[in-house]
């Protein structure tokens, strides 16, 4: 486990880079090895800055490439990242979030897929993504 030295700008959240999502667990969604750790933290920092969270307090973020498109963040082609809610004082972590709700015991009937569509709406209202990107992402498509 590697800790980032700085807290987030808005909330002062502390962040750690977890081995599980950096290749230690092949069954877990993992960040692209070529993505710098500083970029990973920046995605979390921006998500907190713009308060891009769902009702449960999970934050979501992305990063843009030089040409303006959304970067691929994860090994499974994810373009968004999820930062699950943490109790106060606990350190945060994150991982790339696949757009489809997968099969598994953790996905019970009634559970929402992530991010919830309200999150896309929040990103759109905040002018962080375009209408084209919102509509594509909400279908589970790449942008």
């Amino acid at each position: 486990m590697v800790d980032h030295p700085n807290p987030t700008q808005r909330s002062g959240f502390l962040y750690s880079f977890t081995p599980k999502h950096h290749g230690a667990d092949k069954g877990a969604s993992c960040w692209l090895p070529r993505l710098p750790l500083e970029r990973e933290f920046a995605i979390f920092d921006e998500a907190d800055l713009h308060e891009i969270a769902d009702d449960a307090g999970n934050y979501y973020g992305f990063s843009r490439s030089e040409d303006g498109g959304l970067l691929q963040l994860g090994l499974w082609f994810e373009q968004l990242a999820e930062f699950p809610f943490q109790d106060p004082e606990a350190r945060w972590h994150g991982y790339p979030s696949y757009p489809l709700k997968g099969i598994g015991p953790e996905n019970r009937r009634g559970d929402k897929c992530k991010p919830a569509k309200e999150v896309f709406e929040k990103m759109y209202r905040g002018m962080l993504i375009s209408a084209q990107e919102r509509k594509r992402l909400s279908k589970g498509d790449h942008v």
Partner: protein, 363 residues
Amino acid sequence: MSRPGTTTGTIDFGTRTTFEGFDVVWVGPNPFHDGFAFGSEDGKLLFTNEDIQPVVEAYRATASGEAINGLAYSGGVLAVSTRSDTTFWCLPLHQDEPGSCVTTPAGAHGIVAMADGHFVAPMGHSGLLVMKAMVGDKIPVGVSKATEQVCFYRVAILQDPHGIEVLAFALRRAGLGFETFNSEAENTRLNTTTFDQLDVVDVCAMEPKGLSIAAVGLDGTLVLIRNALDLDDMGPVTMRFPAVEGVAYRLLSSRGHIILVTSKATYVFVDLAKKFLAGGSVPIAPPTLVMPMEPIDACVYRDKLLLVVTADNAVLRFDLEMIGEGVPRKSTGSELKLLQPTRFQPDWRQLGVNRGLREMVST
């Protein structure tokens, strides 16, 4: 329920219809009548005639209320997919009977119907959903996962000369995948082919009956294959069009044209598939109709029309016959150009991947 309002105007080669009260994100053929089916961002379906006039009220077609990304119909069952779930509507045989529906609590990138009544849905890393349409309390749904790291992203149906269906997959970094469809087999063999840097995001058949296929990579790399089951026969033709802008979203083929939909425009490579399949080489610079827009999704309707859903809640309906013959005008920005491809010969790698079946029960 409500019947959305529409406003239609004329554009080059077709019409532009805007919806009111219906956030359109997906389009496909109406499986019941002439016309189209539209899916909304909040999980509603709308059926229209060929003039894009609603023929029924829009209704919620998914349990999750998530954006619709696919629809297929077979054997009295209408299947609707979203990133959260796949819903199967068993339609009543008589008007006074209630319909019923079952939902699989897992998302897909789309869904297709096979000739024998099975549905096939690519579910990303979760695998491939295969199920038979039937009425009942619990419908067995097979979900199979490849033994290798494979992302099932898109699927197209091909047909060999004997009428046997072949599935062609866009597998992202794993490239292209092909397998003869056999709903009874517990384990099947998926043949994949790829090269470094290829990230396949869509596939399409190049002819109504045949094993030829076109595929596109995220960066616009175009792959043309004459026979999906015999890759050594001439081998894939691989090219890029440097003038193509944007991220590749969809690839379609109709009337011998190849249609590439990107984040910035729709490109119609006139007669490219026709000339490739005729055995001639790929033209040095095929005439290409370039139509700048912000697409969301697209489909071809009966080899006659091209429909593109755009970000401003509109549907562009193009007459493919007019495009093939047409003299382009520039009133709405469309332009006929001679786009020169860069052909290259990557180091294609082929791999056989086992796909085992496990069952999950729909509730």
